[in-house]
Symmetry: C2
Subunit: 160 residues, 2 copies
């Protein structure tokens, strides 16, 4: 079994934003996809060790900001390589509140979700969220995870 | 709420292969991603109306073949636009058996999974499968769903 074969799967690059009512956080993620259309619903896989996953599990709501290819690399540094346990990531970037959740207005699009079901996958939670709001933000090409590795040249996203 | 914003999410293009022991089938799918690495695990979202989903729900195992950009368009026609209720799709293409499941050797990579958990999302099932085998098949660039729409110019995949 050659597990590098799984690198041939394709993904986008996103920032998941959360709050438990008292604090907010967010992290980069690539394990996100739409599955249902009636109602519109997304699934997101997050490592249980991440503060974002813990706040999401508690708060039951999340935002998704879709990163574009021209996104400021500093944003990737903040959301991909720092921990919300040590800092308020959103204090370092331009952000907006939509429906009580933080989103990143420099991105291509956003979605807000209410968690309807959660699957426990041992190391990860898989959240199924019904989309309560979504919209376009800026024109541009959404960043794929392959583009991120080829062009942005960062290290792999930690703890997806 | 502008649901076209969800088109900014990125996906690959895959053929999911299944068998219930007595018959085989497969369909194109884009709602597939890896979530866990210990053990390696994939999630796949499939519309309950599809024969592939029904055989998977019954058989509990599935293969994934990762389509490349240079895949024969006839393969997309077979797996994307015909129903296994009317024909044996694999009889129309070059296929191989791996671990009792059908895969497409002209693709970039394959994976075989045993279903460990299933989430009922109303119109769809979301299957979490542990990877029991995977490997590379041919060099090439994996096809993204955006590439499929931009270059292959087919209609949207039915019933993902």
């Amino acid at each position: 079994m050659d597990l590098t074969a799984l690198f041939q799967f394709s993904y986008g690059v996103y920032v998941v934003g959360v709050t438990d009512g008292s604090r907010r956080n967010g992290c980069m993620a690539n394990s996100l996809m739409q599955v249902t259309t009636e109602p519109p619903g997304l699934v997101a896989g997050l490592n249980k060790d991440s503060l974002t996953a813990q706040l999401l599990h508690k708060g039951g709501r999340f935002s998704v900001s879709v990163l574009g290819e021209t996104v400021d690399p500093a944003l990737i540094g903040t959301f991909g390589f720092r921990s919300g346990k040590d800092c308020d990531k959103f204090a370092e970037v331009n952000w907006e509140e939509r429906g009580g959740l933080p989103i990143l207005p420099q991105c291509c699009a956003y979605a807000l979700c209410n968690v309807r079901q959660t699957m426990d996958l041992g190391t990860h939670w898989l959240f199924y969220g019904e989309v309560t709001d979504c919209g376009h933000l800026n024109a541009g090409t959404p960043m794929t995870y392959a583009y991120y590795h080829r062009v942005v040249k960062g290290a792999p996203l930690p703890k997806r």
